[in-house]
């Protein structure tokens, strides 16, 4: 777990320091501390972002926010800020790319505790002196303890008592924190979510589903297409479409290319025709064609459930040929329950199936026709999900072909696509939240 008991030397809690007085060189009152600015721009910054300055609310007339660069800060402590100079750049503060506002962007927000694989809310942020840069400070940890929350609720004079009773000791080292830039429109931050990229896609899906479509979109935008596709497949069906529309069409198209086509078709069916067309245009033509074909079928029919990822082999091909073809193919499906044997190519009829087992144990010269099982159990595209499930339980198969009236292969349904019906509803692998459906 990322939680640890630490009391870093001279660590500073941002929430307890914000609002503290800011004094000039001659101790004159300048204003109050409004925010702390850290840099998230260059590689490595995101681990422990270095502080670049403070945002100070000027007191007196013309109360507005100004930026004070770190070089002009002599002392930063719980009691307040002392500046090295009394001269300030009085232009109003505007944020630039790569600038993270610790209070504005992180405090009170939800972040991912990577080690704990859970969402937490930031009750305070700890800053610590940079061990390598004298005088430099960095964002060190997110404080999620109850004590830090309570300390911000009670009046200031009660804070010591609160800290005594509820020590603020649950902190997550910042390199284990994933925060989100989705709430910071118009400002570029280097947030590559490298930690999330290392997590299991199903865990990532669990986390971002709870954070809403904007955060989910942000994460997917930085993951590679294949991983992003895995994450989208694991999201609850209600938010899949929402998340894809939050991305730009090109990225959404790339992700759809990598997804299982039956799920991709379900998502596109949830969108308006215009949106669906935009995304199909953004996909690879071949993948888009597969999805379009699936879209023609009802979602809860064999045609809607089926996948177009399967391998066909002509009946006269030898095992040697078959294996050679598999090796040479552009893309081989993740799972190959059976090879489907057709009487001719292209556009042939389905005449039998060959298991990988038979392929392995037979002599390389044997033809498909010799080792195939000619007893075909097939589905038709209009069969309902329940009928499909019944066929699966009855025949005890892991995949079944879907064919048209002429026995031409349209796709295959695998057992995991039909399993939703087989399981009692309460066992559905993705348990949705309170108000679904």
């Amino acid at each position: 777990m990322a939680e640890m008991l630490v009391t870093p030397l001279r660590a500073l809690n941002v929430a307890q320091t914000v609002g503290a007085p800011v004094a000039g060189r001659a101790d004159e009152d300048i204003g109050r501390l409004h925010d702390v600015v850290a840099r998230v721009l260059e590689p490595g910054d995101e681990l422990f972002p270095p502080l670049t300055g403070l945002v100070v609310r000027l007191g007196g007339r013309g109360s507005h926010l100004v930026f004070v660069p770190w070089e002009a800060v002599r002392e930063l402590g719980p009691g307040g800020v002392r500046l090295a100079s009394s001269r300030l750049d009085l232009r109003p503060f505007t944020r630039r790319d790569g600038e993270l506002l610790v209070v504005g962007d992180v405090l009170d927000k939800q972040v991912v505790d990577v080690d704990g694989r859970r969402l937490v809310r930031v009750n305070d942020v700890q800053l610590a002196p940079d061990p390598r840069v004298p005088g430099g400070w960095r964002v060190a940890a997110a404080d999620i303890s109850v004590g830090s929350f309570l300390a911000r609720v009670v009046p200031r004079w009660l804070v010591p008592a609160v800290h005594h009773r509820f020590p603020p000791n649950v902190v997550i080292s910042w390199d284990q924190v994933e925060f989100f830039a989705a709430d910071v429109p118009g400002v570029k931050l280097r947030v590559d979510h490298a930690n999330l990229a290392r997590m299991h896609p199903a865990d990532v899906a669990d986390l971002i589903a709870e954070l809403g479509y904007r955060h989910a979109g942000e994460v997917l935008a930085v993951l590679d297409d294949e991983r992003a596709a895995d994450v989208v497949e694991s999201l609850p069906s209600e938010v899949q479409a929402a998340v894809l529309t939050a991305l730009d069409d090109e990225k959404a198209g790339d992700i759809l290319d990598e997804m299982e086509k039956d799920i991709a078709a379900d998502i596109l069916a949830d969108l308006s025709q215009d949106e669906a067309r935009d995304l199909l245009d953004a996909m690879e033509p071949a993948e888009a064609a597969d999805v379009t074909r699936l879209l023609a079928h009802g979602r809860d029919t064999a045609g809607g459930l089926m996948s177009t990822e399967y391998v066909t082999i002509p009946a006269n091909a030898t095992i040697r040929n078959a294996i050679k073809r598999l090796r040479a193919a552009d893309s081989v499906p993740d799972e190959i329950p059976y090879l489907y044997v057709v009487d001719r190519e292209p556009d042939g009829r389905l005449v039998g199936t060959v298991t990988l087992r038979n392929l392995l144990i037979s002599v390389p010269r044997t033809t498909m026709a010799e080792i195939m099982s000619p007893d075909l159990i097939v589905l038709t595209p209009e069969m309902t999900r329940e009928e499909v499930a019944e066929e699966f339980t009855h025949y005890d198969l892991v995949a079944m072909p879907v064919v048209d009236a002429d026995m031409r292969l349209l796709g295959i349904v695998t057992i995991d696509d039909a399993i939703d019906v087989l399981l009692p509803k309460g066992w559905h692998p993705r348990i949705p939240r309170v108000f679904h459906r």
Partner: protein, 428 residues
């Protein structure tokens, strides 16, 4: 006021998701608004009809408009930010206001949960079962279903039972009300100044626009994956839901007015038992009225007795950052399960306290809702008008003004009832 209503949908973008999946699934706005007609709603509307006849119909129409204004803001906040209500309150207003808002939720929703168990007790007794058997048994069942079972599977059963409230429109017509009087009172306001009137008035507002409806509306919009592109649908959904809910509420008032109030010879009676309230359904089903009524409030109460504790615990944990959700186990999310269990057990225990005046309690809880409402509405109005938060979807001048008018009027009502009950406490 109708001008801004027609402007509601205008800002929605042209592109939107195809509607048919939602039409099948029923949008969050419709569910949220229908949830307003729970046992507390039925008791309040029945009391209004029995005591004052058609007199308060005009205010139901205004309350309906206010409801649209409030729910639309929540739907918009949810769709634009992708965040739930308590999540946004915490991020926008910080820890102190969050504590106040969450205490408000806990008190308001806790009160409503009590009324749901009161409803279960009343339904059981109409069927001749002791409340001391029915309430603990149902509380245990609800808890078990949430923690170990799957509440959603039985939800539909309760939802089906709750649809009995649809018997009211039919009963309202069968009862042959004085349509002229109904119409007249819909247009011409009647105002009285006795404390009972004020309490019922405020309770009606509190049950029609309950805090949990805002919470539900926004959270459900987020969870169903509505985005900015779906704003137009979300708004239509809110308007349809509110219109339907107000229609049913008015029918309850008309049905009780034309039966119970009319039977009193125009003097008006205070409803004191569920049996009495059930008489509004006599024109429709005669002697079976109390059974139909009992089935209806049982369904509505069981539905809310499960959904409310779950939603409240989730919302509170979200604001404070505790782990939450029935996907987690007891060990991972102790606070979530703690709040959930206390709400259910507490609600059942309070509902069983001997000697509580049932209908009176139901009405007082709704009035408490109305007291808490102004705080939440202030948060909502500020956020929905905040360009930094919702950008171009921030409330324009008309919607912004409407949201503040609603907030201030309800705040005024809350102060009135507070003053009125303080006055009653001091003098009486």
């Amino acid at each position: 006021m109708l001008a801004f209503l027609s402007g509601l949908g205008k800002r929605a973008r042209g592109r939107g998701r195809s509607w048919h999946p939602y039409l099948v699934a029923v949008g969050p706005g419709i569910v949220a608004a229908t949830a307003g007609n729970d046992v507390g709603g039925i008791a309040t509307y029945s009391s209004v009809g029995a005591r004052y006849g058609y007199e308060l119909i005009w205010m139901m129409l205004l309350t309906g408009l206010a409801l649209v204004v409030v729910q639309e803001q929540c739907a918009r906040l949810g769709a634009v930010t992708g965040k739930g209500l308590s999540d946004l309150v915490r991020e926008q207003f910080g820890p102190r206001w969050t504590v106040i808002a969450m205490l408000g939720f806990l008190v308001a929703n806790g009160g409503v949960i009590v009324t749901e168990f009161v409803g279960i007790a009343a339904a059981a007794e109409l069927f001749g079962i002791s409340r001391f058997v029915a309430v603990p048994a149902m509380a245990a069942l609800v808890w078990w279903l949430i923690v170990y079972g799957n509440y959603r599977r039985v939800e539909r059963l309760f939802l089906g039972l709750a649809l009995v409230s649809l018997a009211y429109p039919a009963s309202a017509i069968w009862g042959q009300p004085d349509w002229g009087a109904v119409l007249a009172h819909a247009v011409v306001p009647t105002v009285r100044f006795d404390p009972d009137y004020v309490l019922l008035f405020v309770a009606t507002v509190g049950t029609t626009i309950s805090p949990y409806m805002q919470m539900y509306q926004q959270d459900a919009v987020v969870e169903k994956g509505f985005t900015v592109d779906d704003l137009r649908f979300a708004r239509v959904d809110v308007i349809v839901g509110c219109a339907f809910s107000i229609f049913v509420a008015i029918c309850i008032i008309v049905a009780t007015a034309s039966t119970i109030h009319a039977a009193s010879g125009g003097a008006g009676v205070e409803i004191s038992s569920a049996e009495q309230a059930a008489r509004a359904l006599v024109p429709l089903v005669g002697p079976y009225a109390s059974y139909l009524f009992a089935a209806g409030i049982f369904g509505a109460s069981m539905l809310a007795a499960g959904v409310l504790p779950l939603a409240t615990a989730r919302s509170v944990c979200e604001a404070f950052g505790f782990e939450r959700g029935v996907e987690r186990d007891l060990h991972e999310a102790p606070i979530f399960y703690g709040i959930l269990s206390i709400l259910i057990a507490g609600g059942a225990i309070v509902a069983l306290l001997p000697g509580i005046p049932v209908i009176r309690l139901l009405i007082v809880v709704q009035a408490v809702n109305c007291l808490i409402l102004p705080i939440l509405l202030t948060f909502i109005a500020r956020m929905s008008g905040d360009r930094r938060l919702v950008g171009v979807h921030a409330s324009g001048p008309a919607l912004g003004a409407a949201s503040w008018v609603v907030t201030i009027v309800i705040g005024g009502l809350a102060l009135t009832v507070l003053g009125s009950s303080l006055h009653a406490a001091v003098t009486g």
